[in-house]
């Protein structure tokens, strides 16, 4: 270890009195120095020019926490004329370090409480110039270096966005032995979360850092500090503490449904909870869509709208208090949201896969496609303006507000008191009026039956439409399984979803390729009409459509196998077992 890492100990003045009263903290800090003086000579570290910069740290991740999920933490520390990216976490796959051994070093032992696997953690650093961390870094525009090499594949196509910034004026003390050799360092910092609308001071933090080969001394220093009143081991790393101060936590956004529902709760409350989660997802993504930070904001917003429509269809009747007209109104409004997002998303799909498509060309040259790309980008700019106008409109604002108000109302009405009523009813005649467990079982079963029946009717001669229709039914079933996932056995559910996903991929490939072929033909016609279509570009586009057609044929050929894997006899048995798991008593089973 070249630069001493944290010795595995952090203490903070966690006592709110200490945190808020500077004098109390100064007293504690003085007590720490005095305790250390029993075994070490304690001297302030001479600050070098390099260390004396702005002591700020900005943590970066994608909006959906892809680095955090991979066990990685990425910090940006400004330095003179640029900054340094510091990536810590488990080592990546061999050869994934960007080949720059000069920038990699081991940092044995991170902060205690930083999570499992500390011992294997590695720190990779990369100097960057120019771009301030307050702006998003799209994956594609990261400067080359070992950190970029490690994260690019993980985050694409998302951008790195600043999560939280902490300023921490820091004092460093050297702990000397009897030879006046530095054997450990004490780092005292007073962190503050920088943010709008206000900055939030965090408890002061102390850390002992090791000097290589002097672990024993660092441990002794830790013991001395631990005994000082007002000091305790920090329960969480600075990053997590900073997020908590903002009312957040690492991983607090996911595009998974993950509603807080139980089998015993009233169906109406569960339905409202699921739909509120979907609304949260839609709203959480609006800012990112409008800023055009990356394409996944729009994707998640769009999926939120589509899931909402599916949920309304699947169990809208469980939302007691909403009339059929109201249900139809909200369904139509969310269709409007979906339609609003379609043109930009379709263009995003073309553009995201552009490089790969261009590389796959056999006869044409990748450069032949440049006018096609330019045309797509120009179209996207135009469509994006329409999308932004829609998301900023009073209609969209009214929809989300009203929808939230209605769902919250339903949730309140079916809060704990109502739960008792539902349970007492014993044999609900209709699942919609019963428990969430019954609702889940009934609606998922119906959805599965539709898939099984319609899929079984498909033969080699069936028209494409029958496969497109089956795809929609599969999507509904997938959503049903996801909405009610908290009620199912996790492993059984994952099994069923896995096979369903492979069937969906096959059907998706079949239909999407068809749509893309149609779109490319329409774009070619439009480009030709506008005089923006060189012959080589049209030829290259023709080659793309030929490739798509081949993929479509392959998907069609694969259908039978995929369908049998999901909805064959074994699949049916698996689904029955999954849904039966939801019933506690034989009376419940009869009730369905």
């Amino acid at each position: 270890m070249m630069t001493p890492g944290l010795s595995g100990f952090i203490a903070d003045g966690g006592d709110p009195q200490v945190r808020d009263d500077p004098q109390a903290w100064e007293g504690t800090a003085a007590a720490v120095l005095e305790a250390l003086a029993a075994e070490f000579e304690v001297v302030p570290e001479r600050r070098t020019a390099a260390a004396a910069g702005d002591p700020r740290t900005t943590w970066l991740d994608t909006f959906d926490w892809r680095l955090h999920k991979a066990g990685l933490t990425l910090e940006y520390v400004p330095l003179r004329g640029g900054g340094e990216l510091r990536l810590s976490g488990p080592a990546g796959p061999a050869g994934d370090g960007g080949g720059d051994v000069g920038a990699e070093r081991g940092a044995a032992g991170a902060e205690r409480g930083a999570g499992p696997g500390d011992a294997a953690d590695q720190v990779t650093t990369q100097l960057v110039t120019g771009r301030p961390p307050s702006r998003p870094h799209p994956a594609a525009s990261l400067p080359a270096g070992p950190v970029s090499a490690r994260v690019a594949g993980l985050i694409a196509p998302r951008a790195l966005v600043p999560v939280v910034t902490v300023a921490a004026p820091t004092a460093v003390y050297r702990l000397l032995n009897s030879d006046r050799k530095t054997v450990a360092r004490l780092v005292v910092s007073r962190p503050t979360v920088i943010g709008s609308p206000r900055s939030v001071p965090l408890p002061p933090r102390l850390a002992v850092t090791e000097v290589r080969g002097y672990q024993g001394e660092a441990r002794r220093a830790v013991r001395l500090i631990s005994a000082v009143p007002g000091i305790r081991a920090a329960a969480e790393p600075l990053f997590a503490a900073a997020l908590r101060a903002l009312g957040r936590r690492p991983g607090d956004y996911s595009n998974k449904v993950g509603a807080q529902i139980t089998a015993a709760m009233p169906a109406a409350a569960a339905a409202a909870a699921i739909l509120l989660r979907l609304l949260d997802t839609i709203e959480a993504n609006v800012v990112g869509v409008l800023a055009d930070t990356d394409t996944e904001f729009l994707h998640d917003l769009r999926v939120g709208a589509r899931r909402t429509r599916s949920a309304l269809k699947l169990f809208g009747d469980a939302l007691t208090g909403l009339t059929a007209e109201e249900l139809a109104f909200f369904a139509a409004e969310f269709k409007w949201v979906g339609d609003l997002t379609t043109p930009v998303r379709d263009l995003d799909v073309h553009l995201l896969g552009f490089e790969e498509t261009a590389r796959a060309l056999a006869a044409a040259k990748p450069d032949d496609l440049e006018p096609f790309r330019a045309y797509l980008e120009q179209r996207r700019r135009k469509e994006f303006r329409l999308l932004a106008r829609g998301l900023r409109s009073a209609r969209f604002a009214a929809l989300t507000q009203e929808w939230r108000a209605r769902l919250s109302e339903i949730q309140r009405e079916h809060a704990p008191a109502a739960r008792g009523t539902a349970l007492r009813s014993g044999h609900p005649r209709k699942a919609a009026g019963g428990t969430a467990g019954l609702l889940a079982a009934e609606r998922t079963r119906v959805s599965f039956s539709k898939v099984a029946r319609r899929g079984a009717a498909i033969t080699a001669d069936s028209p494409a439409e029958s496969l497109h229709d089956l795809r929609k039914r599969c999507k509904e079933l997938r959503y049903a399984l996801e909405f009610f996932a908290p009620l199912h056995d996790r492993a059984a559910s994952a099994n069923a979803v896995g096979d369903l996903k492979r069937l969906q991929d096959c059907l998706g490939d079949f239909q999407d390729t068809e749509i893309q072929i149609g779109e490319i033909r329409a774009i070619a016609a439009a480009m030709l009409a506008a005089g923006e279509a060189p012959a080589v570009t049209l030829l290259a586009m023709g080659e793309i459509t030929a490739g798509l057609a081949a993929r479509q044929r392959a998907a069609r050929a694969d259908f039978e196998r995929r369908f049998a894997a999901f909805a064959g006899r074994d699949g049916q048995r698996r689904m029955s077992a999954l849904l039966l798991g939801r019933y506690r008593t034989s009376a419940d089973i009869r009730g369905v």
Partner: protein
């Protein structure tokens, strides 16, 4: 990773001061640096206030019983670590030879090496006992950009190991006739090696320009030999104070002419070894 060895057959020419100051400057320039104090006297370890003691002694390291990595100590400075001296290094040749003996055990190589028999490796093909140090240093390649070896003055199996492992031999020379002869001896020896030869860079140290002999020898040798640097390290009392301050001169007297001379020397070495 580039390996620099401060070496001269003759003692008392400023090898340790060179190794300590140049290693510090390398670290300061951002290179991840480790200095191995190979001299059983432990002067370099002393300068960094590190006890000249290695767990298990030289034997544990040479035999591979303990990884070299285990012996590394952090200095007070960023990017700079040290492998301390140990009193057992005084028998380093025996240890290195024993390493060859144990490596050759198993009989297939036909033996021929018996304990106590001297190492005959001057053919420069790099027999096992000559490659030991290089093999140990190779384990540090991922962690460090620069290695400095502070070598004891001698012609020995250890010095052969150093010549085999090093990319650059830094030779401090006091401008005296005897000192100059040792450079010739070293150059001849290196020229006779059949394998890749280390680059030799000699520089005058402890120079007293008031002495006519110093001036004459420097002038003559600089004209005759390309491997002599333009930078010289003057004889200054502040350099001698290094052992009192127990710190590189570039740290405790950064503005001194001694510090400037070492900075200039490091800059010249870097540019000539790129």
């Amino acid at each position: 990773m580039r390996i620099y060895a401060a070496y001269n057959i003759k003692g008392g020419v400023g090898k340790t001061t060179t190794a300590v100051n140049l290693a510090y400057l390398a670290a300061e320039s951002g290179l991840r640096t480790v200095l191995w104090d190979l001299d059983p006297q432990g002067a370099a370890s002393f300068m960094f206030r590190i006890k000249p003691k290695v767990k298990g002694g030289g034997r544990a390291i040479i035999s591979g019983k303990r990884p070299l990595d285990d012996a590394i100590k952090g200095t007070d400075f960023d990017n700079l670590d040290l492998i301390p001296a140990d009193f057992t290094y005084r028998a380093m040749d025996l240890l290195l030879n024993a390493d060859r003996a144990s490596s050759a055990d198993g009989g297939k190589s036909g033996g021929g090496t018996k304990s106590g028999e001297g190492a005959k490796s001057e053919d420069g093909t790099g027999s096992k006992s000559v490659r030991t140090l290089a093999r140990l240093l190779a384990t540090l390649a991922a962690e460090y950009d620069a290695v400095f070896l502070d070598c004891p003055p001698s012609v020995s199996l250890l010095s052969e190991n150093v010549l085999y492992a090093a990319d650059v031999i830094l030779v401090p020379l006091i401008p005296t006739t005897l000192s100059v002869r040792t450079l010739e001896q070293l150059s001849d020896f290196v020229a006779g090696l059949k394998r890749r030869r280390p680059q030799i860079l000699a520089f005058f140290s402890m120079v007293d320009r008031r002495k006519k002999l110093h001036r004459e020898i420097m002038e003559k040798l600089s004209a005759e030999r390309d491997e002599v640097t333009a930078t010289v390290i003057p004889a200054l009392s502040i350099i001698e104070a290094t052992s009192v301050e127990r710190s590189p001169v570039t740290v405790f007297a950064p503005g001194s002419s001694a510090a400037k001379a070492y900075r200039a020397l490091w800059a010249e070495i870097r540019s000539r070894t790129q």
